[in-house]
């Protein structure tokens, strides 16, 4: 299924997340939300967000930045709430009360997706609801003050994995949620990055044309938590892809396809050194963490390429 993106056409569409929301300067989450809604512009959309930065900053009471019908749900429940809405929609459709082709899209952060929301997300995927779940992964609980999540990378300094003499930041690897979602044998699971916008939009468009549960994981640089420059979000997203820390790929009907292969894989230091949360890694005693980080990436990249070659 070839999906075409026409930038000129897209620029004519209305942005469905309005400015004036209260996300931080330099935040990537609203860029991701806007791109998702832009790719879905041909359909009526019902959106849903669990508690998180995006939710709390786009619905300061009595105001909303969302130009589509949007539901907030408790931290752990986006998968469940959207399942309920989609089920009602199917019932209405069966009864002839509605004939529109409505798209259901959840957009949640990594805390509400990888951790507390994993159960309801998994349930929604397994039951086969016709919805798209997009995770904006900024790698920690940024909304409540930068606590580690299961998406936080190895070695990162957070308020609950503080880097000091006793502990060198987070001691565990991050959870590979995209693979976990693909393992649900859903029709479409993918990983995307806002820096590679064309690839990202194509993935959203493609997902929306598929019936059943879909999942897209999007890297979302956060200058507050990553301790990076305000204007570095897209550059960091690009570095994440170029170092293969965040490979761009999709698993469609079980077939893995790597959608972007960097000509030259950059060393992970280039991604780490521009982020204050990894500052402490550049000392002799923590050198092993960077090495381990690189090893994990190399292994995962090789595995992905192998999976791709087996798929074709």
């Amino acid at each position: 299924m070839a999906v075409q993106i026409n930038l000129k056409e897209l620029s004519k569409k209305e942005l469905m997340l309005s400015p004036g929301h209260r996300l931080c300067a330099g935040c990537t989450a609203p860029i991701i939300a806007k791109m998702v809604l832009l790719a879905a512009a041909d359909y009526p959309v019902v959106a849903n967000s669990p508690t998180g930065c995006l939710e709390v900053s786009t619905c300061i009471s009595d105001y909303t930045a969302w130009k589509v019908p949007w539901i907030h749900t408790a931290f752990e429940n986006a998968g469940a709430t959207l399942s309920g809405v989609e089920t009602m929609y199917r019932a209405w459709k069966r009864k002839g009360k509605i004939d529109k082709e409505v798209k259901f899209i959840a957009i949640g952060g990594d805390g509400g997706t990888y951790d507390i929301g994993l159960q309801s997300l998994s349930g929604a995927m397994e039951r086969g609801h016709d919805l798209l779940y997009v995770c904006y992964d900024n790698g920690a609980y940024m909304n409540t003050g930068i606590q580690r999540s299961s998406a936080t990378p190895l070695g990162a300094d957070t308020t609950t994995s503080p880097a000091g003499t006793a502990v060198p930041g987070k001691v565990q690897r991050r959870k590979d949620l995209t693979r976990i979602m693909a393992a649900h044998n859903i029709p479409y699971a993918a990983q995307a990055a806002p820096s590679h916008w064309q690839d990202f939009l194509k993935k959203v468009k493609k997902a929306l044309e598929i019936k059943g549960p879909k999942f897209i994981n999007v890297i979302s640089p956060c200058n507050r938590g990553w301790r990076s420059r305000l204007d570095d979000a897209i550059q960091l997203s690009r570095l994440a892809v170029q170092t293969c820390y965040w490979p761009l790929y999709e698993v469609a009907e079980g077939a893995t396809k790597v959608t972007y292969k960097p000509r030259e894989k950059k060393p992970i230091e280039e991604f780490l050194k521009v982020q204050g949360r990894f500052k402490h890694l550049f000392t002799p005693e923590n050198e092993w963490i960077i090495k381990k980080f690189q090893q994990d990436i190399d292994q995962e990249w090789e595995r992905l390429l192998q999976e791709e070659s087996q798929s074709s």
């Binding site: 408790a74 752990e76 951790d115 507390i116 409540t144 606590q147 609950t160 503080p162 000091g164 502990v167």
Partner: protein, 354 residues
Amino acid sequence: MEKVLMKGNEAFGEGAVRAGCRHFFGYPITPQSELPHYLARRLPEVGGVYLQAESEVAAINMVYGAAAAGARVMTSSSSPGISLMQEGISYIACAELPCVVVNIMRGGPGLGNIAASQADYFQAVKGGGHGDYRLPVLAPASVQEVIDLVVTAFDLADKYRNPVMVVGDGILGQMMEPVKLGPPPEVTTPPKPWATTGTLGRKSRNIINSLYIEPEELEKVNLRLQSKYRRMEEEEKRWEEYHATDAEVVIVAFGMVARIAKAVVDKMRKAGIPVGLIRPVTLYPFPDQPLVAGSSGPVKAFLVAEMNAGQMLEDVRLALCGRRPVHFYGRTGGMLTSVAEVEGKVREIWEGLK
């Protein structure tokens, strides 16, 4: 004694360390997140373990596990997170395990907001989860008292083999006050022969359980729990009185509202109006004696002031059984009661008495 400036949330953490707690299971939620932040740094310094759970449900069940192994263990959250913990708290109460749960209450219901509130009073003092059970509930009103009462909470938990809740509101969690730390208290943890730490060659096994299929058996467990709660009611009621003995109008308030009420008492006394304060320190068991005693003295009316729609009000009414009129003033949704508002209400009651 040297004073240090501490944030309420940090004081909960330091209080736990002083009480000998070396195991903490946390999960982020505003306005309590500084508590896990503090312990994530502090516990490794004293050989303890900070572990972040993937949800509040996981956190409370980690507490269940550590408490079963005999550890002094704590978790903390704020209102919606405490709601998620209720199943686990009910299990722990039935399994009779000691632990401390901190609730830095915020505006509700639902997602509500992150402003200060006392709207989880019912949830805290009436059990909260399913089944007939109770938790001793402590309500500190200053950062200093946080340090001291967290130690008390651990002692009560061990004494009764029961989860203990310490409640503060968002203000107490976020405010900074000078604190006298002093030398750490002597921690005496009673022996825990019931803990599941391995049989060590014993023939008998320790069993931690909250499942009793036979109703006769479960009733026995319930009766045992109830007799324990009666013992708490006899031995553990705590309160503070402020100009209460000669007062004609007595304000009953806990936590931050009691601090506001104290200012009201001072102001009214200056104006020649005999107002006093009774501040329950234990919300369960509820200190009914000072109310009952007061009602046989010069007290003509009580005013319950809370940051909720009237929850402790019910316990005050139950304690007084109609002996004196009980008035109420409350703000909800995270709104703070002001000195002027409580004062206005007291004046209204005072005028009515004349």
